[in-house]
Symmetry: C2
Subunit: 657 residues, 2 copies
């Protein structure tokens, strides 16, 4: 692993070592297309939406109440409500870009926080004041370190975009309090919800102060020794069942597991702990192979928002929490920087397009918390003016009693440009494809400027134009997504020579001249996908993927009065591109199949029969079934939806009639 010499201050994640060097938000801009539209909505709608809701439900007011000595009566929201304001501040920082002073909104919210921080640096509106539970009296569920972590992340984001100011100072005081309280000789505990680990490492990176890193390493090593109470969900819920170094797969609460893994990578990178890094890589591999949905979604249980057993991936009860998608992208990004392996960018791409992009509605004002892969019934639209008490429904909700997801989506979209490209001593690597402009300085001080133009993910042509280049050879590396396997991908060099490239990475090394073009032609076409037969819940079904996008059937596209569970598809015919979809990003796909007449199978009788009993297959009409990108579903009113579609092939269990 190489040392990084950061060229940019505006880095969401800034490891001091790694195979690849991240580029900052001042080096990469997204200029158009799928993600530009979503970032625009994020900036112009979602950030304000989150700010307004937090005022309305009193979570911002909690800080004022704490400062004014009336928190005992006036506290609103759950233990972790403070963290939402911090995540919003972080999102605002990354979204608004670099400058020299905080924007007015940030400055105003920072004042609110400053007034609530206690003299010793502790800042949490749910604990420690008269009439409240004592500080750190409930490590399992209190979320105090979790909240502190998000505060620190906000302070880092502020420092990295607008320079150190009051928010960063508040964050540092909070971090100092954490180190004083939980450092050697202090409380030998961990927080029930990991998050402080990544935050402290990032603060160490920002400040150069080793003690923050040491504290993060201490938290990583302390976990897994059963210091948290065993409860209904078991010790794995808090990842307190096994030390990080000994675990072989991610387990328990998915967001907790992924945040912890991300923190462990950060610690491993900074402390040169290859064994710890290898442990997380092993867990990532097993988790991706056995505990991840086709969408990249993670978390199969509603009960405890946790990973299921290996291959237990029910589509109809998929939890696939938005925040787990965010956390998975965070983990993959750190592993990509550390190792340079494209498989991490593959998973990040899948998760961004099919989980992170699915959560917000087109208008940026409502969100999925859980991202199911099958909705068998239509839900009434959630009220737009009230807080949803539930994590899941068939339509997005504007705000939740536990509202972790909206601000998590916001801070992810805000920092997305940083995920597009990296650099190393050889040159520049493109990981995610979007219309973009990249302007960075390679080793030796040589400036490189690139323009990326693409219709991805609707189309597969990615053109990279060199606008500025040193006059010696360097390498432009493009990721060839894993989803291109068993199809042909072409790469054309500036001379127009095409070569086929395999999944992984494809590099072009030469003396580039301004105006030179590299063209990647990705085989974006709809393909049938099948699952490992060990995934019981989708046996006998197929799905459709087109480029990185997973597709789904949605009832609004079916003949009047039909629901998606009446659909069977015929995978012997290739899926074909259909008319543009409702979202304009990805288009529709049409597959051959049939729709069972609505009531044909609907008897009210015992649903299990001897195999040797006669059966009459239901009447069905052949039809072309329109599929839409999964991320776009539930934008057209109440609907039913499914990703995995049963096949029309005669049920091999049906008896010969």
């Amino acid at each position: 692993m190489k040392e990084n010499t950061a060229r940019s201050a505006a880095l969401p994640v800034a490891p001091t070592r790694g195979r690849l060097r991240p580029l900052g938000l001042d080096e990469v801009r997204i200029t158009g297309g799928f993600w530009a539209r979503r970032r625009h909505t994020n900036e112009t709608v979602t950030l304000g939406h989150c700010r307004d809701w937090m005022e309305r439900v009193g979570w911002t007011g909690n800080f004022r109440a704490a400062a004014e000595g009336r928190i005992q009566q006036d506290r609103r929201g759950r233990e972790f409500a403070d963290s939402e304001l911090y995540k919003l501040l972080e999102a605002m920082a990354w979204q608004s870009g670099t400058g020299t002073t905080p924007d007015a909104e940030t400055a105003a919210l920072t004042e609110v926080l400053a007034a609530a921080q206690e003299p010793d640096g502790y800042l949490n509106t749910a604990f420690g004041r008269p009439g409240q539970r004592p500080r750190h009296s409930d490590l399992a569920w209190g979320h105090e370190l979790y909240c502190a972590g998000h505060l620190i992340q906000a302070g880092v984001a502020q420092a990295r975009t607008r320079g150190e100011g009051e928010l960063t100072r508040i964050a540092r005081r909070a971090a100092d309090h954490v180190c004083a309280t939980f450092g050697p000789g202090g409380i030998e505990g961990v927080c029930g919800h990991p998050q402080i680990e990544t935050a402290l490492v990032e603060l160490a990176r920002l400040t150069g102060e080793r003690r923050y890193l040491d504290q993060a390493a201490l938290f990583v090593d302390r976990r897994g020794h059963g210091t948290l109470p065993d409860g209904e969900f078991g010790r794995a819920y808090h990842q307190d069942d096994l030390p990080v170094r000994e675990a072989t797969v991610l387990r328990g609460h998915a967001v907790r597991a992924l945040y912890l893994a991300a923190g462990a990578v950060d610690v491993a990178v900074e402390t040169r702990d290859d064994a710890l890094l290898a442990a997380v890589v092993r867990q990532w591999e097993a988790t991706v192979a056995r505990r991840t949905y086709l969408t990249g979604g993670m978390g199969a249980h509603h009960q405890d928002e946790s990973f299921g057993d290996d291959f237990v991936l029910p589509p109809d009860r998929a939890y696939s929490e938005t925040c787990a998608g965010v956390a998975s992208v965070m983990l993959s990004w750190r592993l990509l920087l550390a190792t340079g392996e494209p498989r991490y960018a593959d998973l990040a791409e899948r998760t961004l397009f099919n989980v992170v992009a699915t959560s917000p509605a087109e208008d940026g004002r409502s969100f999925f918390y859980a991202n199911t892969l099958h909705r068998p019934h239509r839900d009434a639209a959630p009220a737009t003016e009230t807080v949803s008490p539930r994590a899941e429904s068939g339509l997005r909700a504007p705000w939740f009693a536990v509202s972790c997801c909206p601000t998590n989506v916001a801070r992810t979209l805000a920092q997305l440009p940083a995920h597009l490209a990296t650099a190393d001593d050889q040159g520049v690597q493109l990981h995610q494809y979007a219309d973009a402009e990249i302007d960075t300085t390679l080793t030796g001080g040589h400036r490189v400027a690139l323009r990326v133009r693409t219709d991805y993910p609707s189309g597969g042509t990615v053109t990279v134009t060199v606008d500025r280049s040193p006059d010696h050879p360097w390498t432009l590396t493009l990721r060839v997504p894993a989803w291109t396997a068993h199809a042909t991908t072409w790469l054309a060099d500036p001379d127009g020579r095409r070569r086929t490239v395999a999944p992984g990475t494809a590099g072009t090394t030469r003396v580039f001249r301004p105006g030179d073009e590299i063209r990647l032609e990705l085989p974006v076409r709809a393909r049938w996908i099948r699952a490992d037969p060990r995934i019981d819940a989708v046996r006998g079904t197929v799905a459709v993927q087109r480029g990185p996008l997973v597709y789904c059937a949605e009832s609004v596209d079916l003949p009047e009065g039909h629901e998606v569970d009446a659909v069977r598809v015929d995978p012997s015919a290739e899926p074909e591109d259909g008319p543009d979809g409702p979202d304009g990003a990805g288009g529709t796909v049409v597959v051959a199949g049939e729709v069972t007449a609505h009531d044909a199978r609907h008897g009210e009788s015992w649903p299990y029969r001897p195999l040797d009993a006669p059966a009459r297959p239901p009447a069905a009409d052949r039809a072309g079934i329109v599929l839409v990108p999964y991320h776009s579903w539930a934008n057209r009113g109440p609907s039913t939806m499914r990703v995995w579609l049963p096949t029309v092939e005669p049920d091999h269990l049906a008896p010969p009639t």
Copy 2:
């Protein structure tokens, strides 16, 4: 519906009207076989086990603490802990049989309750005393009426078996307090957990006092109007989303839904409310057709212990709570008495053999709370000396933090003889088959005595010998289980004449003489079962049922080192009877199939592939797969288990290689 003139006092459920008249525990005895063994274990082990655990965890002590004014410091257990002592007292009453005085144990526990009851009749150790929350301040989660209901049931059981005594008086005072507090002009609310409804109706039946029935009817009618708060699980969780009369299917928390439905039947029968009865029948039909596991188990969600959507019945995350099985048997029994339709006895049989009998271990000292149909990994044995914080594991636990199931199993096994037979003006009906002696008096005062001998469920021959009979014709009716469909069932009359009979009921009307025998020959053989294709979670799999018993593969019966998920079966060959199983009740079954070599499919890679990508099927060894009765699983140490088995038929999604 006819009026019932009860012949017996010892009736667990004593409707004043109904198509069938129940027989009391003094009229039906189970003398041998499957259920006699379990009732013996219940009497000699489980009742004491529950009593000892309740002492140990302090739930009995709560009553002493309440009486002694130290409950605020000393209360143990959840809000509903009181109910466990009541359920134990009810179980002890039914199990110990009739007499003239309470047994010593009951008397001692009754003294404890008496000391804790407040002067106005209120009795609950979790609310209302200094330092506790006020009475009825948390109807949604407080379980006060739920606990009162179980107290009333215990008082009724005591009165019906040993005569009215102190326990019955305590119960009546509690019921009077409920009526005074929640009756007209009182609190217009319902309890978050139904249960009080059945209890109040039964008390009305015992005492003849209409006001208890009126209060139950009020509770049934009040529910469904959104008086309980909407929360994370939605109003359906408490069945407060729709009035009972308007609902079309059971939904929400399964035990709550089933208790409420049972209470609604009780109210409907006693108030001659045919519309209400029809509403519950409709809900039962839809629930059985769309929301019930092959085992009879109900409840598909762990999160909220609730019914899933229609046809959402995942085997690996089946909740199928033991108490929901108990509640389902309660509901079916009431519907059977009201309507006389054998379909209710069919479901009760299935649920008794595959849920209620599955919960307790062979030794009667540990229990399943959830009854999954698939366990993909081996669990370590739960500690035998500590309370399990979890509802589910792959092995039974001796006691739970929420320990509703052990006492619920105990009270069900205790009253099981009453489920075997009924009478009406025409004669006697046998509903469940076990070695038994029945001695009752028909209309007109004519005494009938019968002996039943059978090896059911291992074998299918049921012989009923008439020991005493009036010298005029009457009808002996035997249920022909629904599981005999598409196979031949014979009924032989006392003259040895055989006729085939169809699923439903088969009556023999004649002048019976002592010594006359009726013989039912049920086609008990193992058969492949398939599920309605709308049940997504078991597509492409089959199960085995033999008589009423559902079977499963358990890893302890597989070649060394294999787990059940490696099994594929070949349904083109009929299942065959194997050697006797570990339980001696039901025997084993051997099916043709194959076992995939352990690691053959175990790559650590993305588990979704294009359908057109080449694939190599895993190596597999042909093998005879031994299946055991589902109720017997997990009695031989940690194991993996599954009921629904994928078929060996080449995966129709596998590409031509």
